[in-house]
Subunit: 338 residues, 4 copies
């Protein structure tokens, strides 16, 4: 009963189907019918013209987006615990050719205009200091927290006022939208987001994410950079098919809702153990070493986590699109019984 | 009836099967059972201990290999028409952080010790000139030409003598081995090759190549670089499964033999039109514009090619692992009838 | 009466003399007699074999050193307020090809083994996180604080134990040695420092610093990197001559002592206003806006500084090798009279 | 009697004077009066508004210029024997973050529109091939050949038509202008050049070149990049003073005329031995090994050079701004007597 992460779950049957349907020769790279359908599909989804490119991983999606907005001598404001800072093996430095991540604070890995200003306002406008060129936020955050449309819009407004690009790492964008019940455009195009990494892999996909550009000039550069990064697959139709399957019939929301619901069920059992509000599919809970051992003995797998001050220990549990209801119920019971 | 390229062909059924068999949760990234089986599988295949990593594209495989052998201030000798020089969108410059491709001559895109020496011998050993650190050869070459084991070994010997790394771009390595009928180690480990990009995508895979390291220290660096390049997929087992399927039961050779045989059949029909000996699955033939139009009218698709001096036009045709025998026969007849 | 910085002061007469003495044709780049004398001169100075290269700026010196010790996918631990982090315009990212600066805490911009461990110990040893490869400390620090030989040695010991390189940014190394009265080797070769940026420009030079390698293999790489960075001047003898003049007859110490003494004189006048112990040639003092205005009205120039919590304002004053004793006395009186 | 190169000659007395005149404290970096005077001085010289920055070396000047015009995924057309390709230790790859040098042919290292088109026309406009973004020409060329104003303008016109930037490496720009007797703007601003590396070091300077931007937006980026490259010297006034001295009273032309005249005198003695027309201050001549030995025995120093086909050997001789007339005469006599 694995609650490690959603990023190693199985692939959704409809994604498999779509991949098989693409198993016929077509043009190579992104010249095939599936890849060519992405712009329209995402323009429909977001209700505004946009350009969409498939990419195999979230790291590549994020970093291609950043590199399109930030020159090598510039910087990107992000949260101190953002995935791009903590868990991408230095990929932003590689893709941007050495631009600087400028680390801001914020509860639950959420940025706010104030937190961003606290980073950028002290920067002297001279050549001795790296100047910010973009902001990157994660939706839902690395702690499963969700920005409301107005929270994103406030950051978007700040970005625009300072001539900064705005990137959204949406590895769990679906979970955020499912949680909020809003239109996806409210969190992106309408809120000033320039580029969205639209996650699929954690949500039932195999190995395709979408980079969605609300500023199509950025996409023009990224086409070259994607190839240059070795990310232009020759049989791109198998990636495009995955992405299309995810948005067809709102499978992305269906899957995210399932994961979120499972997380809510577990969170209910956790009660006050939870130390980040559960707004997506991740639960961060206080759990002593003995309790961890007990749960593991009962067959539940999850990651240890850094314990909040004054607590004996902590764990992270993640529900996936296909978390078995029986496992979820069992886990909930086991936690309640601790 | 498409003879454009092998790189957009369908995926082999046994590769699909293997991917489906991997559709069960396991550790993320390359911690799963399939990924962990790669080293042994390739060590068996090559009869020598080696380390193997999956990568989604040949470009990424090639460039990760080069970056492991060449410092940013160094250079790589390759053929003027090597894929890394002509068709990777500058990826070597990206991955190596600006190292230089040093272009050598050679018929059929094949390098020889003499051609390599002609490039490196004039380089002054001072800091004003970029110093070579590696050689990269393509097997089979971009013109479907094949290095014999002794030809590789001669280059390997030169590389060793000059303290240069040796990389083999094996996007069509299977076709070369199938053509030669030799043991794969004769072309690699025994011939001084340090890293091989072992191609699968053109040979029935979907989106997984293998980087095979005969020098495992190089692999240690590449593990970090692969992540840093956004190429460490979280559901890596689907890539590992593809690669394992390709080498299980020698599917790689079976597929390559089929493609080579189809190419031979077409080549026979071409007679003296062929201007590069057909040793793999590619045919380069003289074909006038009128003849091109005629073939296309009959339903055959292929790429125009640069015509050799004194000829009216040329075309490239590529046979794939699954080229339909009926199409191959029809094409052969159509060519013979020109 | 300028107390802005030591980095724009005039050039010492003996440096001028040495430059003029080099105004005769010799081999270009670093093949001249002056450049070739550097290794011996520094080996004598440090009492151990070392290799020394001239570089025009401290930023280039620091970053060439880091790039020699840290691969693009690695990281460097430095203080949050280190010059390489705050004031080099992202040069470390450029030279290292995107390696990460890992920011540690410490009073007065001084690192300690504990502070370094607090940064590196939480780093998971996996490819998702950037791994540290070196430590960089500044001697004297950006706040004019000095590491004792044993403090450096403790860091050197930690570095060695973790297989990390150790770089010392010695833009004001002379001031530190003058303050401590120790042998320069006690702070470097004997304490585990691999490379020292030996500053001259702030100390009476014009535009030459020395990179001193106690590990000569690092120097071999830097020779190539220096050229590749456009820092190999063709008339290098004018730089070498500056550096040689600085160490001949211990001019470097003589100048540093003068600057330190001037700073001490001013500091005495400041009394409890000083908020960083004055150990080199910089004074950080509490100074209200009105007091700042008053001093400026009397003809004294200096930089505003960030005020410590609970104070009305602050200023940074820097004494140079040639600070006019009359100006220093006048400033001291003016401060005392505030 | 050294005829190795102009790049290691002594510094002109008026340059020394200017440097000494700058030996007074002023603002650091490029905030001083000398540095701030550069824009006006060069605007006067070229008769058009331009922006000028000092840089210590020609390599840095060239590569900063290229990096401002070419994205990392782009390319620069230059001659196969251009200094940036042959003798800058890979600096273009460093500064541009891996952009590609696209090598064109041309007699005497001169490019022509046809030669440029031969390189760029075959490039497919797709992401698999690196796209050109700029052209770089050297004036005078690496073989001492000079582009006329109309030759530059033709290249400028091509550049404009293809939306390519145009950079001129003017390490010996003064020699070219002196040879042609034209206005410097005819070779630059009026001919479509966007950035000029205006050489001083080979022409009597110590360690300052000027980057002259006829497109000031490029300069805005380069200011950041110069700092990021460690090329923003804190005592920049000593560099600015050199550059100003060079253009004051047309010292740059005076020096170049002297060097050119010396070269002409030697060339006359060489007669048909010369294999590149002598248009600047370099002489490339056929010289057998025995003749080389003879000249060297008589005290003349120079570099061997690659012999043209069918000749027994060759040498390169370079006259400098201060080549001693007696030495020049002696060399001419010695050559005539061979």
């Amino acid at each position: 009963m694995k609650f490690f992460s959603d990023n190693a779950a199985a692939v959704h049957p409809r994604v498999w189907e779509a991949m098989h349907a693409a198993d016929t020769p077509d043009s190579g790279y992104d010249g095939d019918a599936w890849s060519r359908a992405l712009d329209d599909a995402f323009s429909d989804l977001f209700g505004t013209e946009c350009t969409a490119l498939w990419v195999a991983t979230g790291t590549a999606a994020n970093c291609l987006a950043l590199a399109a907005m930030v020159p090598p001598h510039g910087g990107v404001v992000c949260h101190r615990e953002a995935h791009i800072e903590m868990d991408e093996g230095g990929a932003p430095g590689f893709y941007t050719h050495g631009a600087k991540l400028m680390l801001a604070e914020g509860e639950g890995a959420k940025l706010s205009p104030d937190a961003i200003r606290a980073v950028i306002d002290p920067i002297r406008d001279d050549v001795h200091q790296v100047q910010p060129h973009a902001i990157s936020i994660t939706q839902a955050t690395e702690y499963g927290r969700v920005y409301t449309p107005s929270q994103v819009a406030e950051i978007g407004s700040l970005a625009q006022g300072r001539a900064l690009g705005l990137h959204m790492d949406g590895a769990r964008f679906a979970n955020a939208v499912a949680h909020l019940g809003c239109h996806p455009a409210e969190l992106t195009a309408q809120a000033g987001v320039d580029v969205l990494s639209f996650g699929c892999v954690k949500n039932g996909g195999m190995n395709a994410e979408a980079l969605v550009f609300f500023d199509s000039e950025l996409a023009d550069v990224v086409r070259y950079r994607r190839k240059r990064a070795g990310h232009l697959q020759s049989k791109g139709r198998y990636l495009a098919a995955q992405v299309l399957a995810m948005i067809e019939g709102d499978l992305w929301l269906e899957n995210a809702r399932a994961a979120n619901a499972a997380a809510q069920e577990i969170a209910s059992a956790c009660g006050s153990r939870v130390f980040h509000p559960v707004e997506a599919n991740e639960i961060f809970m206080v759990l002593s070493p003995a309790e961890q051992a007990s749960l593991r003995q009962q067959g539940f797998d999850f990651y240890d986590w850094t314990a909040p001050a004054g607590t004996p220990g902590a764990a992270r549990l993640v529900a996936a699109w296909n978390s078995d209801p029986a496992h979820v119920a069992a886990l909930s019971r086991a936690i309640a019984a601790l």
